[in-house]
Amino acid sequence: MEQNNMAMKVENLTFTYPGAAAVSLKSVTLPIERNKITALIGPSGCGKSTLLRCMNRIHDVYSGNKYEGKITLYTRSGEKQNVLELKKENELIALRQTVGMIFQKPTPFPMSIFDNVAYGLKLSGIKNKTELQGRVEKALKGAAIWEETKDRLNDSAMGLSGGQQQRLCIARAVALKPEVLLFDEPTSALDPISTGAIEELIAELKSEISVAIVTHNMQQASRLSDYTAFMYLGELIEFDKTETIFLNPANKMTEDYVTGRFG
């Protein structure tokens, strides 16, 4: 029954970058619960982003990566698949439509606001204009950016502010109705006000979507997440409810890190 509330599960994952002598992830096991926010924290270079990028296989943009272990994706329809076994390009495309990703720097495409959101939908084969318009509007509303953009949907997305661009990117990902969204330090390039807006948005998203978020900001992790994983040097040191990690961690290293004594 445990699997009913599970969105993804990483088991004994070991990952090596092409040409690297040492592994970057050492036998990591991490559950991503459905409709919960799981934060990944740890000092730079500990493998948080590497782990996140395994989960939608975005590493495969570059060849020569080595995965060992298992990442299971439990879809809402009750199927489960091992993400690491996918080989064909169309299987990977389907995976990325189910498991979306938001990057550190906002990445608007050089096209209009509307086309940015419609782009992923068009890729997934939706051609009907009315349906596209409906889905774009819904996604922009879902990402709390509709009010700001409804009068200039045909303007270039490059004219938006950094925070708006990041929300547009979230809208773009949400439009595909993913089951999981991976956030790779989504606010580290933004000012505090935009950061607040994004955090609010992520908190709202979890009613529909399971979220994994990498962050350097400890307050963000404690404010936002239900579960927190602390990583260090490619290993997952401790995983627990966020409250426990921050108030009563089992591991000395975790305690030192969350209290700011090292990192």
Binding site: N56, I93, G100, M101, F103, T107, F109, M111, A173, L176
Partner: protein
Amino acid sequence: MNRLLLNKIILLLSITSAVIGIGFLFWILITLAYKGIDSIHVTTFTNDLVNGGIRNLLVGQFTMALLATLIAVPLGMMAGIYLREYSGGGKLARVLRNLNDVMMSAPSIVIGVFVYAFMVAPFNTYNGWAGSAALAIMMIPIIVSTTDNMLSLVPQELREAGIALGGSKHKIIIQIVLRSAKIGITTGVLLSFARIIGETAPLLFTSANNQFFTMDMNEQFPSLTVSIYNLATYPDEQSRELAWAASFILTVIVLAINLLGRYATRSKKGK
């Protein structure tokens, strides 16, 4: 005090060098304008070379350069896309990039000789196709290098973002990466066009020249630059005046295309 003195000396030296460099440029421009403008009449543009004008030469030069662009841009862009997006930056890519750099600095007369051997000698006649081919060979390495460089400026995150939305590699390259690099590549194309429109050596014994108006690329083809070379060596005053006029017009054309290329980039950056 010593450092201040040294500072002043170096400042003086660099200003002098700058003045000398720019001075020559203006000297050329002013001489061309002084000698050229006087020799330009309405008939310069309406008559063909045989009647003392350059109409057929302008049309011929542009025809060959445009055809060369039509050949070089798709080939060069595809090669640049391969180098940046598909080669993975391995050994082959390094060798190709180096070869391309060598090609870019190849003496244009050598390219002319090469094309002569393959497209002129076997047919026993100078022809416009050979001229276009020689210009295209000059242009391809410039386009390859521009495309390669402009694609390298597109942030990697943009490609990843496209892939993360469920795009396939070729779609992301065409619909997003090329689109981001569009302005830079267009500028590169314009600048390389400006570069080949003024070339003489590759045309000297490929297209050669034609006094009459023709659009038949199978025969000797009218060329503005080759005509300047010829006219300047003729003894009569009229021919030399026409050479000045043609030189001035060519310079204005090249300058205009260059400015257009630079302006296109700047207006985009300002946005």
